[in-house]
């Protein structure tokens, strides 16, 4: 089966009962890893990703250090049991690409120049994968970075959008990820109105693309409120 060959929408309802532009339930937990400098768990429906930040810390061996800026490293990884068929824990090509695009989605938000010669490590672990893992991970990373006290220009918010037949949809689940006609991952700094991630697969017209970006933008703005609320609540409660 390929993109477009699976019936994913019936009477305006998606296979999990959602309306086209409806997000799954979003769950945010902060400070889930006590040994970490900052950590968060974000779930979009069944998709659940942990992010843990270490740093800024000294970088070794020394020849990797940059003298004028800090370095950001990201590692996206899936637990072997997070998917239908067991995934070997060694990084595959997909994980390596995703690690890079997640890093590039976060990097514009961080004042890396503030801590030269050091490294900030963002580690992501997908506990369960039901679509949209990279954008879920970016949201978790944004929160973990903030909790680690890394100076940031803005939070980074992310979501996925797509297309089934002629309907544009929001927040793709695993089956939609595989078989929808279009799949787009999007991240931005909502406070700045700047895009930091844009990846698209599948056939669209220019007009459809515009609309997809609009949906993604307004969703990221909602997620921005969720991220800010979570952080606010924490500082209200704990400090």
């Amino acid at each position: 089966m390929k993109r477009g060959e699976v019936k994913l929408i019936t009477d305006g309802k998606r296979i999990d009962g959602r309306k086209p532009e409806e997000m799954r339930n979003v769950e945010i937990k902060l400070d889930v890893i006590s040994r970490s400098d900052g950590s968060a768990e974000v779930a979009f429906g069944k998709t659940r990703v942990l992010a843990s930040v270490y740093g800024p810390r000294a970088l070794f061996p020394k020849y990797l250090q940059e003298h004028e800026t800090g370095i950001l490293r990201c590692r996206y990884s899936m637990a072997p049991f997070s998917v239908d068929e067991r995934k070997s824990p060694a990084p595959d090509r997909r994980s390596i690409e995703l690690s890079k695009v997640i890093r590039l989605a976060l990097e514009p938000a961080i004042f890396l120049e503030d801590f030269p010669k050091t490294v900030v490590d963002v580690y992501l672990e997908v506990i369960e994968a039901d679509g949209s893992t990279r954008v879920t991970g970016i949201n978790a990373s944004s929160l973990a970075l903030a909790l680690a006290g890394i100076p940031m220009r803005d939070l980074v918010c992310a979501c996925s959008v797509g297309k089934i037949n002629d309907t544009l949809i929001l927040d793709l689940n695993g089956r939609e990820d595989n078989y929808s006609e279009v799949d787009m991952a999007f991240a931005m700094m909502p406070g700045k109105g700047k895009i930091t991630l844009l990846q698209m697969d599948g056939l669209v017209t220019k007009e459809e693309l515009k609309k997809l970006i609009e949906i993604a933008k307004s969703t990221c703005e909602k997620i921005y409120e969720m991220q800010k609320n979570a952080l606010r609540e924490k500082y209200r409660v704990s400090e």
Partner: protein, 252 residues
């Protein structure tokens, strides 16, 4: 911190106020990953691991053509501790996985012969994957417990034309015992149950003992870079058997 741990121990006290023979609070959550055939999250204090079970079809080993296969694997994810780094599994991960494996295997809690699909050709291969998410000491007991609980709630997938139907199940994995792993650290003349991260840093030797429901011991592993005395072994075994009963009660 190291010297503080030792100072308190002189007075028979631990940094978190526990008795020497006291476990931290244990929190077990079952079926935490829907995609997995079985899963469990275990917290011992702030130490946190998840174990997930996947069932795949595999060829049996030539010398046991009618038995399923059990594979235990552990990953110290770099999320869990500033000391952990990404990369292929190190010796500590491999040792932990192999000790958990032996505790389960030697207890004979899984009837591998019930996992044969077609003798000599196809059997179930049960993967237990342990992800360490927060490292505050005693990863081994947490991992063994999470693995046991995950196996006990594991369902075997349905087969159709020899292929796995994901999300549909034909029944539970038969797990007939509850082997429990108890790790005891030696720090100077003290024996401590369930050492936390700070205690492990000054631990001289550690003995991990897997105990079955009938109090039989099914696996022992000495760890740590210092020696242990004969009389200490006796005390450790007694203590492990005793504590195993306590923990076993937490397992459904």
């Amino acid at each position: 911190m190291d010297s503080y741990v030792l100072e308190l121990l002189e007075k028979g006290k631990r940094i978190d106020g526990r008795r020497l023979d006291e476990f931290r609070k244990i929190e077990i959550r079952e079926n935490v990953v829907e995609k997995a055939e079985g899963s469990a999250s275990v917290k011992i204090g702030e130490t946190h691991v998840i174990a997930g079970v996947k069932a795949e079809i595999a060829q049996p080993f030539p010398d046991s053509p009618d038995e399923g296969i059990l594979i235990v694997n552990a990953e110290f994810t770099p999320l869990a501790s500033p000391e952990f780094e990404p990369g292929p599994p190190g010796e500590d991960e491999i040792e932990l996985a192999r000790v958990v494996d032996r505790g389960i295997r030697e207890s004979k809690c899984i009837e591998l012969e019930k996992l044969c699909i077609q003798p000599g050709e196809k059997v179930w291969c049960i993967f237990v994957d342990i992800s360490v998410l927060n490292h505050q000491g005693n990863l081994l007991d947490a991992s063994a417990l999470a693995s046991l609980v995950a196996l006990r709630n594991t369902r075997i997938p349905k087969l159709e034309d020899g292929k796995i139907i994901r999300g549909e199940y034909q029944g539970k994995l038969p797990v007939i015992f509850k082997p429990i792993n108890v790790s005891i650290a030696k720090i100077r003349e003290n024996l401590l149950v369930d050492p936390n991260f700070e205690e492990e840093k000054v631990t001289e030797a550690k003995i991990s003992v897997a105990v079955r429901d009938d109090d039989k011991i099914c696996a022992i592993q000495k760890q740590g870079s210092k020696e242990i005395l004969f009389e200490e072994i006796d005390k450790i075994i007694d203590l492990a058997v005793e504590k195993s009963k306590e923990i076993r009660k937490l397992v459904k």
